[in-house]
């Protein structure tokens, strides 16, 4: 094979050009005028990541200029929503900066809707504002392209590189071009991972072709976690996967409907059902958490799940009562045409005019991510002026690996960032990385040539497995010598669904199920050795699967470790059915040893730095 090795040097390497990555590119250039800033992306940053098709709302905006909200209020909101467990320093930090991000977006050309009465941004809800966001990603990408020294599109990053002598210091990354098949070695002084969250860890409700229709994008391949975990970076809250209340099948989000359009959800018999479960939930999680305003996302799910379980579905969103003006009808449709076009297709194909008929809601399969009402991700250093001392070790948003930063879905404990917060976090990481690089001037990390050669073999092995194995069989997709990436993905999804609280168990698991799931996952992990890739595209799928499998393992191990049900509605440990603040008002942390395959689990303290009001 005529494969070439390409070496790319940089001061700062940004992996993933989504919202976190674009923010990091912009900000690191602002502060690091003379640095070489390289952004590497598996797709094309013009339309990559979770915001590829656009968004209709920015879900994290304070509106401090109009005194609408203060960062402390936002911390209280996120904390309440996550049942008490968040990194308040990180959340405060995003909240205090996010308005400048949004104002910049508007200056760049993002159309933000205005309230005609007040002239202010049109509020969807207390924290959310409405946008005409079809081109949200292209606009942000334009800013990033103008900031980075070089953007490498269509490079799938597979592994991070650490220093030859200091395994806890970052030195770069490797990957391959999905177009040319070249092997890429990125040497960097600092690395910012902004590679996004994870869909397809759990079996989707959709079947066959329809499995493209996940809520989070199918290309959200868990790389943020799959890249970090092997370095031994400390991860937290990997058990805190999110289940979303969504329009059935199309997966249209509900926020604008509940908050702006004030639409109601009922069971099949027209009854509001949330209040019915208050007593039960009080028993499960305690009065304090029930009182959170707004009612926590997971507990809202819980009510819907129980109602469906009781056979009072379908749950209906009564859109027909709220689209009474042309403006509202347009808002309703734009909400989906901007960000989940598939929902419009459900309406068109099933003859549902939302002005006339209600639409079904459902709870989705679980997702693993860090920027929505959930906070899986890396344990990161907080902002110097805010973070408690054990939350701070030098540089903002630096993981426990020296020089390895993160943003967006990558960083754990910091829920409700969304697009604006992820970009903001990218900025925070970008600035900190500049400082890290400048501080370390003259002290450069060194690469381990032997390890890189080994990685090259590992990375391209699926092509070889396929080439050899394919010759053994006549044709078709069944071969004894290799596993196709889709096969592996389906095996993963099935076991996660059945053993680790997927939708088909109504999100219930327990220790024996988790242990059995782990046993099966371990065999799958061994089998990844035998992945077969027909071409470079399938080679990308192979490595996406690697990242997903490692992430799934983290989910299982964290779920096993946390012996309580902290977030009913996200998942249930049937053997520990209650929230238990006495023992579990902590973060669950893990560190993986890639050499032994062992995981070290621990508890980390949750510090409350913002007082309850």
């Amino acid at each position: 094979m005529a494969r070439r090795t390409r070496f790319v040097d940089s001061d700062i390497l940004i992996i993933g050009g989504g919202f976190g990555g674009c923010g990091a590119a912009y900000e690191s250039r602002y502060w690091g005028r003379d640095l070489k800033i390289v952004l590497v992306e598996k797709a094309n940053i013009e339309r990559s990541g979770a915001v590829a098709h656009g968004l209709s709302a920015i879900n994290c905006y304070m509106g401090m200029r109009w005194n609408e909200n203060q960062p402390e209020d936002f911390v209280r909101y996120a904390r309440g929503d996550l049942m008490g467990l968040v990194r308040e320093d990180l959340i405060f930090d995003i909240a205090r900066h996010v308005d400048s991000t949004v104002h910049k977006f508007e200056e760049w050309g993002l159309p933000i809707m205005k309230n005609p009465q007040t002239g202010r941004y049109l509020r969807e809800g207390k924290w959310q504002i409405m946008i005409h966001g079809e081109s949200y990603k292209p606009i942000i990408a334009e800013a990033a392209r103008k900031a980075a020294s070089e953007v490498y599109n269509r490079i799938m990053v597979t592994h991070l590189l650490t220093d030859q002598t200091d395994p806890n210091r970052i030195a770069g990354a490797v990957g391959f071009s999905v177009r040319s098949g070249d092997f890429y070695v990125f040497r960097a002084k600092a690395v910012i991972v902004a590679a996004g969250g994870a869909s397809h860890i759990y079996r989707p409700r959709a079947i066959g072709e329809g499995t493209g229709r996940t809520w989070y994008a199918p290309w959200s391949s868990a790389s943020a976690y799959g890249l970090l975990i092997p370095t031994g970076a400390k991860m937290i809250q990997m058990e805190n996967r999110i289940v979303l209340a969504r329009f059935k099948d199309g997966y249209g989000p509900v926020g604008a409907w509940f908050l702006l359009l004030k639409s109601q959800a009922t069971n099949a018999y027209g009854e509001s059902y949330e209040a019915k479960y208050l007593d039960q939930l009080r028993e499960m999680v305690g009065e304090k958490y029930i009182q959170s305003q707004p009612f926590p996302t997971c507990l809202r799910n819980h009510a819907m799940i129980e109602e469906m379980k009781a056979g009072r579905g379908p749950i209906y969103m009564h859109t027909q009562h709220v689209l009474d003006t042309k403006e509202k009808e347009e808002i309703g449709w734009e909400d989906f045409l901007d960000m989940t076009i598939g929902q419009a297709v459900v309406w068109a194909s099933q003859n549902i005019d939302p002005k006339e008929r209600p639409s079904e809601l459902i709870t989705s399969e679980p997702y693993v991510m860090g920027s929505h009402a959930t906070c899986s991700g890396a344990w990161a250093s907080g902002p110097e002026d805010v973070a408690p001392s054990d939350y701070h070790w030098g540089y903002n948003r630096m993981t426990t690996v020296q020089g390895l930063f993160g943003a967006g879905d990558t960083i754990g404990g910091s829920a409700h960032k969304f697009s604006s917060g992820s970009f903001t976090e990218g900025r925070l990481a970008g600035k900190a990385a500049v400082k890290y690089v400048l501080d370390r001037k003259g002290d450069e990390p060194r690469l381990d040539e032997i390890r890189i050669k080994k990685l090259e073999q590992t990375i391209f092995k699926p092509l070889e497995n396929y080439r050899v194995g394919r010759n053994e069989i006549v044709a078709g997709t069944v071969a004894p010598g290799y596993l196709l990436p889709l096969h592996g993905l389906q095996r993963l999804e099935k076991l996660m669904d059945e053993y680790v609280g997927g939708y088909s168990t109504f999100y219930v698991t327990n220790e024996p199920l988790l242990n059995r799931g782990l046993e099966l996952l371990t065999m799958l992990k061994e089998d990844l050795e035998h992945l077969g890739a027909e071409d470079l595209h399938q080679l990308q799928r192979a490595w996406e699967l690697h990242h997903r499998v490692l992430t799934a393992e983290a989910v299982i191990r964290h779920t096993l470790f946390r012996q309580e049900t902290r977030w009913p509605g996200y998942y249930y440990r049937a053997d520990y059915p209650k929230l238990n603040d006495a023992e579990w008002h902590v973060f669950v942390a893990s560190q993986y040893d890639a050499n032994t395959g062992e995981w070290h689990m621990s508890k980390l303290p949750v510090h409350h730095i913002v007082e309850q009001k």
């Binding site: 959709a206 595209h537 510090h607």
Partner: protein, 149 residues
């Protein structure tokens, strides 16, 4: 609603191949035109549809839940910065919508390096680029020490 490509319209330019976030629009080696190689990884994000100069790409709702006979067509106009949607129902009803997509010309964003170079010491402050001005409040909020518990 994964994509399909109209045989008579596509000229094989590769724009869709270039843009698809899922890397699933590939050029068929025989016909030298594009097609969706992996519909089960298609997010119906319409990135390719919007990018196709020939309007050769369309979508058909996911087979596992979408009955046939609908169309959701789009035209994205980067000159006038509007997007036009035309939705045809299975039963023939039609809805049309137009939305703005951008308020400034494409390419007009000012690069960060064109702003005045910040003072080296500012690297140690918690302020980000353009702050505090861009916050549109006087100062970056800090946490009153009393709140650290």
């Amino acid at each position: 609603m994964p994509t399909y490509v109209d045989m008579t319209r596509c000229d094989g330019c590769g724009e869709c191949v270039d843009i698809c976030p899922s890397d699933i629009m590939h050029i068929d080696p025989v016909y030298r035109r594009s097609y969706n190689i992996e519909p089960n990884f298609c997010w119906e994000c319409y990135s390719c549809v919007k990018a196709c100069p020939q309007h050769a790409i369309d979508v058909r709702g996911y087979s596992d839940f979408a009955p046939l006979g609908h169309k959701v067509r789009v035209l994205r106009d980067r000159q006038n910065n509007r997007i036009y949607w035309k939705i045809r129902y299975r039963d023939g009803r039609v809805k049309e919508f137009t939305f703005p997509i951008r308020t400034t010309p494409w390419g007009s964003i000012k690069p960060p390096s064109e702003y005045e170079r910040p003072d080296a010491s500012a690297l140690n402050s918690p302020l980000l680029a353009h702050e505090p001005e861009a916050l549109k409040v006087d100062a970056l909020p800090v946490l009153p020490r009393s709140e650290k518990v």
